[in-house]
């Protein structure tokens, strides 16, 4: 249920503007990889190229290749819709569908794709996904209530349940805790360590403690200045990045002496 990711010489553009330059990295299956770096350095942009969400923005293009278990996402003829069914994504702000109940939100990936699912299978899937997202006990008595009525942290876990309900190989998380309080953040970090057993996880975070707590490997991105492309500065084991990084820029950033 999890796959490796191999990125080769990836350049990401918004129209003519080069946003991320020349990134290459290998991500092992069943690991958590954290992307850290200052705002605007292209972490989220790069993350969105891993499930072809980048091109949803008008004018956005990508050069290079991303292999998921040997299959190039950017080969001609690849259907982005099929890619996104393999590589799920959790966003910065919790975004449950406001017209759907908690249960319908979890089943959204199935129902929106017009797949037939029997009532008992649906109930099993809802329970499994919500348990997987550590939300089942909190919402099991109000599955038919609107998803928008939950607290921010619960909504974010609902979005994670929705993502894992379609059983992807990889889960991308774009600052999943930045809108949450410390307790909800802790709940989601716990969840990430559990999800690691089944999924390959890539997480963008601004919180370096979070990166050091949850991730196996860390990639540090930086930007030379406004208008310059973001670059991958260093990619290594999380322990190495936070204790003995090779690059001076990484050390400055993780030790708070950035700039």
């Amino acid at each position: 249920m999890s796959k490796s990711i191999e990125v080769n010489d990836l350049n990401v553009f918004y129209s003519d503007f080069l946003a991320v330059e020349d990134v290459s990295m290998n991500i092992e299956p069943r690991t958590v990889t954290a992307f850290i770096g200052p705002s605007g350095c292209g972490k989220s942009t790069f993350l969105r190229t891993l499930n072809r969400m980048h091109e949803v923005i008008p004018g956005a293009t990508v050069k290079g290749s991303v292999y998921i278990d040997g299959e190039n996402l950017y080969a001609p003829g690849v259907d982005p819709v099929l890619v996104r069914r393999q590589v799920g994504m959790v966003f910065q702000r919790p975004n449950p569908f406001p017209t759907m109940s908690i249960k319908e939100n979890v089943l959204a990936g199935v129902r929106l794709n017009n797949k037939r699912i029997s009532a008992s299978d649906a109930n099993d899937l809802v329970e499994k996904s919500l348990r997987g997202a550590n939300l089942w006990n909190e919402v099991k008595d109000r599955l038919d209530k609107p998803g928008a009525g939950l607290s921010g942290g619960q909504q974010q876990r609902l979005c994670i349940a929705r993502t894992i309900a379609v059983s992807p190989q990889v889960v991308l998380m774009d600052e999943p805790c930045s809108a949450l309080d410390p307790i909800s953040t802790f709940a989601i970090e716990e969840l990430i360590t559990e999800l690691k057993n089944e999924f390959t996880i890539v997480i963008v975070t601004h919180n370096m403690q979070q990166a050091s707590r949850v991730s196996d490997k860390t990639a540090f991105f930086n930007i030379a200045g406004t208008g310059k492309p973001g670059k991958l500065i260093e990619y290594a084991d999380t322990a190495t990045i936070f204790t003995s990084p090779k690059e001076q820029a990484t050390e400055d950033y993780v030790s708070g002496r950035f700039g």
Partner: protein, 364 residues
Amino acid sequence: MTAVTSAPATAPSISLTSGQLPRWIEPALAIGTAVVVAAVLLVIQLFNPAVWLILTAVFYLIAISVGSGIVEGRRKAVDRVVRGLVVCAFVLAVAPLISTLWTVVAQGLKVLTWDFVTKPGGSVFDPNTLAVTNTPGALQAVVGTLIITGIAALISVPIGILAAVYLTEYALPSNPLRRVITFLVDVMTGIPSIVAGLFAFSLFALIVGPKAFSGFSASIALCVLMIPIVIRSTEEMIRLVPNELREASLALGVPRATTIIKVVLRTAASGIVTGVVLAVARVVGETAPIFIAASFTDNFNADPFSGPMQTLPVMAYTAYSFPGKDIEASQAQAWGAALLLVIVVVIFNLIARIVAKAFAPKSR
């Protein structure tokens, strides 16, 4: 009173208290002024509701500004005067509305019976006695209104919603076609309805020859008026759907078309329905284009493709402008049609509210 407003000499520091008029002063003063003004006007025998209300407002504003200025100071006086002015503006805005409704209901109720709604009206000429008997009835107009507006809605709503989807979801801001459509929609929203009527009539005159009156051509005229309204309101509603929902859906591997139908349109459904029904309510009262395209008739005609067709606004207009022998009865018919029209619009609005509520995103 003066002791409160003037700063205490012993404590030059800032005081947090100030003079205050009691809470009931505004309504009490307004009623008091109204009573006094009414009494004075009655005494000098110039009583007239309009003069009474205007003088009451003027004297109330003067009294409250002076009184509050003395007791509470300048800032609160200004606040109270402005509040009074705002209430006056509100009353001015609502008065014509209530007056219109009152007149329509009062005049219309005289003829509005169950028979008026369920029987076609008209005049019967008896060649033996040379007498013309008029029977009041609006069934032909009710049916005509529903058919003409219904066909117009059936044509405009899909076109309007799909055009709005194209403008918001598919066309990039730089797309020249999008700019052309947006410009044309803006222009079309301002088209005088009579022009739409002439357009539809001449179009059908070209197709089926002279005497091209038909309910369907009136529907086409209404479409010309309705499509831009539907596009505009739908476009705004779709733009309100947060982009995050589209991304959430796309990231689940949902194709774009399905995302638009099941997430974007579903989330905006409540607003779209409201906009559509308001557009229908707007064209249901159109007179000029229907008068030109469908003409008018007292005969019952439920076939939109041949012959003149009556609608409620046209019935009100013709009954008033071209009355029969019994002028009083014709005018009563006009009021009845007007009241029926108001009732139809109210029903549409109620339906819109109920449907919009059913579709609205819930948070509890």
